[in-house]
């Protein structure tokens, strides 16, 4: 996956959400729909899109786009 595809997953998960894609620290709290439940929904969508599975620890700890990218990179499924 790449950043553009991840942004598309964010739009798919939160239709209608308005946010700055380049915002540093884009994550929980960046817009109203991305709350803790929204974060859970997003991580499930990322798993489906990337064909991977986050472990329990990651699901609890990933709260930003950068966190998602780091977890994908660790699995070798992220292209800059």
């Amino acid at each position: 996956m790449n950043r553009t595809e991840l942004i598309a997953v964010i739009h798919e998960t939160f239709p209608g959400a308005i946010f700055d894609e380049r915002e540093p620290g884009l994550g929980i709290g960046s817009f109203p729909q991305w709350d803790s439940l929204g974060n859970f929904n997003l991580l499930l969508q990322v798993e489906a899109a990337a064909g991977i599975r986050f472990d329990s620890q990651e699901i609890a700890e990933i709260k930003t786009l950068e966190g998602v990218i780091a977890a994908l990179r660790k699995r070798g499924v992220y292209a800059d």
Binding site: T13, Q33, F40, N41, L44, S56, A60
Partner: protein, 564 residues
């Protein structure tokens, strides 16, 4: 439909997999874990509720480890049922109960003795279905049956529970949403009534005109048995009230040769309500079949192996449902059996005889063509309408007529069983069903009327007046109105108020009131008193004009037909 979704654990609102549900309902998620409050609170009686129950949320393993069959249900489940009972007593809207009892276990444990969990679930499910018999608004969905088609382990994900109190995986959420959406659709959309089947490469493998009787694949070994099983599913659907018809581009004699002479043929000619076997376009076949059965095109399901024929029908007749059959014939029997649009939640005894009833109608139409005048013909066919009281045995049929009758339905009010029971026993409504036999056969129960009291002691309001489409064109409505007139007069009524509420398809009943002696209320001498006689609390009124009949002087036409 607006639905309050509530669950014993988290169904994550906003999850994209739940979107199929949003296409059929307006969903409200409420607070996490508020199911008990939703079931027992009085604030939810006007909104449909979908209650998702995971046994593992309210029942720990150790609690049922010592459960004995002679015990009642474990306390947690008994309390849940009590809460459901409270909801069922109050609710005026559907209650969907979706439950899952599954939790991973070793099958070794169940190899010699039923596990306590299995016994608890069996008893709980029996209790649910017992309630469903009494409450038409209770709709049940065993989630584990739904999930097992996808694989239970794929549908659950314990990680999600510890992350967000959600037992389900993305697949599980998707499956749940699709299952619930299917149920909601089944309530909102009328069931399809006719399965129209192609013949070559559909009822049998090969082309009868080219391969001959001994060259087609049907029965014996291998794939020929899949065609036999496909026909068996079609016959099973027919036994549940779905009509069967054939649309085939073929020589008619070739098709009947297979029906009459092939030893493995399952379907019989007499099981077909209609057929078109010639070389014309199938779109014409389908139009004619619908017309012959007096049904709309939206009652038809068309099953054909030929992609071109399917596409032509989809384009020309979008009202007809055309499923995409699996590429492999081996999957056809299960695929046909699983079609939601041919499934109904309640079968009445009348459904079982529907085939004969439509064949009787076809014979009636054929005989009618030979007469120039309608009245002598109708007088000659020995029509015997019969009044049938609405009781426990016929209540289901009364509700079914309300739900499914579109063409000859005066106000299109869709009462369910509970509504009708309440109208008759608590609100003093007068009403009955009508059954019909004639020389063409037994048509079963084909009519329903309900009149309700108004604020004026001498005036009733015609809440429901409908006839099944297969009984139209016989003036049964005149007989039904005459019986209602008689009954209301006996009960001390003098006037009957009525209104016609136009819908998409009930034009055939548009002139019923003026043609049967009703006068516009606006011209009635008692117009002012009458206008206030009907209360919105008694009937859901529409804005259409009122009509009034004086029952003492009402002259109903066409009754001479029934006096022969």
């Amino acid at each position: 439909m607006r639905i309050r979704l509530t669950a014993t654990s988290n169904i994550p609102s906003g999850n994209p997999t739940l979107r199929p549900l949003l296409e059929v309902a307006e969903l409200d998620f409420g607070r996490f874990g508020d199911w008990f409050e939703v079931l027992t609170g009085s604030g939810y009686q006007d909104v449909a509720v979908a209650w998702v129950l995971f046994f593992r949320d309210i029942l720990a393993r150790e609690e049922i480890a010592t459960y004995e069959f002679t015990d009642g249900l474990p306390e947690a489940l008994q309390s849940a049922l009590t809460a459901l009972d409270q909801r069922l007593q109050m609710a005026k809207t559907p209650t969907f109960v979706l439950w899952s009892a599954w939790r991973p276990d070793s099958l070794i444990r169940a190899s010699r003795r039923q596990t306590p969990l299995y016994r608890v679930e069996s008893r709980f499910v029996a209790e649910l279905y017992r309630r469903a018999e009494k409450h038409a608004g209770l709709i049940l969905l065993a989630l584990d049956d739904l999930f097992s088609a996808e694989g239970l382990r794929r549908c659950f994900d314990s990680r999600n529970y510890y992350a967000s109190r959600c037992w389900l995986s993305l697949q599980g959420l998707k499956t749940l949403a699709e299952g619930l959406a299917g149920l909601i659709n089944s309530l909102e959309k009328p069931t399809r009534k006719v399965l129209v089947l192609d013949c070559d490469n559909t009822l049998w493998g090969g082309v009868i005109g080219e391969n001959g009787l001994s060259g087609i694949q049907l029965g014996q070994d291998g794939i020929g048995n899949a065609y036999v099983d496909f026909q068996k599913v079609a016959r099973w659907l027919n036994r549940q009230g779905i009509l069967l018809a054939i649309s085939s581009k073929n020589e008619e004699s070739d098709v009947w040769m297979v029906f009459d002479r092939h030893p493995a043929m399952v379907l019989r000619r007499e099981e077909l309500a209609a057929y078109r076997i010639d070389w014309r376009e199938k779109t014409l076949h389908l139009r004619e079949i619908a017309s012959e059965l007096n049904l709309g095109l939206d009652s038809l399901v068309f099953w054909d192996d030929n992609a071109l024929e399917r596409e032509k029908v989809r384009n020309a007749l979008p009202q007809v449902f055309v499923p995409e059959p699996p590429a492999d014939i081996a999957e056809w029997p299960d695929s046909l059996a699983s079609l939601d649009c041919l499934a109904r939640s309640v079968n009445t005894s009348d459904d079982l005889f529907k085939n004969q009833q439509y064949q009787a109608r076809a014979a009636f139409l054929a005989a009618a063509k030979q007469y120039e005048e309608t009245t002598p013909f109708l007088a000659s066919i020995g029509m015997k309408p019969r009044l049938v009281e609405i009781d426990a045995a016929t209540l289901g049929r009364a509700a079914q007529l309300c739900a499914k009758t579109n063409q000859f339905n005066l106000r299109l009010i869709r009462h369910n069983e509970a509504d009708i029971e309440s109208m008759l026993h608590r609100c003093g409504a007068k009403g009955f069903l009508v059954a019909l036999t004639d020389k063409f056969g037994d048509h079963g129960i084909i009519g329903l009327t309900l009149a309700v009291a108004t604020h004026r002691d001498d005036t009733a309001f015609l809440d429901t007046f409908l006839l099944s489409c297969r009984a139209m064109g016989r003036h049964i409505e005149a007989w039904m109105l005459a019986r209602l007139q008689q009954r209301l007069l006996q009960k001390g009524y003098r006037y009957l108020l009525a209104q016609y509420v136009p819908g998409e398809r009930n034009a055939p009943i548009a002139n019923f009131l003026p043609e049967h002696g009703f006068q516009p209320l606006a011209s009635h001498p008692l117009v002012e008193q009458m206008s206030e006689a009907v209360d919105e609390k008694i009937v859901a009124l529409r804005s259409e004009p009122f009509w009034c009949a004086d029952l003492e002087t009402l002259h109903i036409p066409h009754l001479e037909i029934f006096e022969q």
